[in-house]
Symmetry: C2
Subunit: 223 residues, 2 copies
């Protein structure tokens, strides 16, 4: 899925949206974020389905049943390399459109969006800024995230829920601590794992928009 403003072509900042477990590329929360980046900031946004989610499965499944199926899959085989490769193919296809500022690519992805987004940001320096969080280094099959975190070098805002029932406080602090980024911030919000709303939602839009605008302004000056 690709969302972009209508009107004259321009090299716009691009936000990649990694949805959470049980969601999919056109989940209302993803469409809401895409609309904010396009409508409020003139950016483009793109999303692909996570493994066994959305159009990657035969029948539709959502909510707790889909989340349980994802967690069972994750614990058997997290499929990180395949998902990183899919995102890298998506980035290449998007940049081939010649419509985006290749120096202003942001990642949004918390929870499952971090499980795949952190290894992607570690592997692909085209990601210039990342909104991560709500996943811990001590979670099942997360050694790969702990290992990849020091290779993430772009600015990161890491979001954490203070009473997350899925991920421990310590595991999230640990994952944040391991990030190699010189500029990194951790923000804790009250409440359980879901929902993402209020100040947290505001920060997602505000952080990525401010950072991408600033990068885009710099790249226009120096190119």
């Amino acid at each position: 899925m690709l969302w972009a403003p209508t009107g004259p072509a321009a090299r716009r900042p691009l936000v990649l949206l990694g949805h959470g477990g049980s969601q999919h590329k056109t989940h209302p929360g993803i469409v809401d974020l895409a609309s904010r980046f396009v409508g409020n900031h003139g950016f483009a946004a793109a999303a692909i389905d996570g493994p066994i989610h959305g159009a990657r499965r035969a029948g539709a499944l959502s909510g707790p049943a889909m989340q349980a199926e994802f967690l069972a899959m994750w614990k058997e085989d997290p499929r990180i390399d395949a998902m990183v490769a899919d995102w890298q193919a998506a980035i290449a296809a998007l940049l081939d459109l010649d419509a985006f500022d290749a120096s202003a690519i942001g990642w949004y992805g918390i929870s499952m969006g971090t499980a795949y987004g952190l290894p992607l940001a570690a592997a692909d320096a085209r990601i210039n800024v990342a909104l991560l969080g709500m996943w811990g280094a001590d979670f099942a099959n997360s050694e790969r995230l702990a290992h990849d975190a020091p290779r993430v070098r772009c600015p990161v805002l890491f979001q954490q829920k203070w009473n997350d029932q899925l991920f421990t406080r310590e595991g999230q602090f640990d994952l944040f601590d391991r990030l190699g980024s010189e500029e990194k911030w951790l923000k804790v919000y009250p409440g359980p794992h879901a929902p993402v709303a209020g100040e947290q939602l505001r920060d997602i839009e505000d952080f990525l928009a401010r950072r991408l605008r600033s990068i885009a302004a710099t790249s226009r000056v120096t190119v």
Copy 2:
């Protein structure tokens, strides 16, 4: 010290500025914040000296020597009740001027500004929103802060430095955890205890300005 916009009288939001150890009520960092709230937002701001700081002492002393003198004083007698009483007298005197929105009073104070500001916010419900942080429940003579924290009920943004050399990560998490506020957020910034700059400084202005504007708008509607 009182800073306020020139021009017609209005019931403005008021930000109380609690300076850090070794600083004083007209320290450049305090004047900078006051200027932001007055100049960028049309609020008023006020500051008084902390114990043994500024005009409360005979000779001027600043930097590490003043900080060491404060920490020695704190470990002998933290003087919390006296400082809370002074701030409450200051608030009463300020409200007597009939120039501020008494329902939109914010507190700024990190480090020593939290050592006194947290007990003040716990004791005085006139404080509607607070920016706290950079102090821990496990620091010397901080049982009083741990005890008072659950009585703080206003929205709080708690700031913490990831490599603070004075306060432990765990002690700061613990103090944040104890806050009684339904709306509370913790944000971690890279670096040591000082300086306060960049994203942290931006967040201080942004958080207090947004919250006070929102409270002031509501109080205008309902009064």
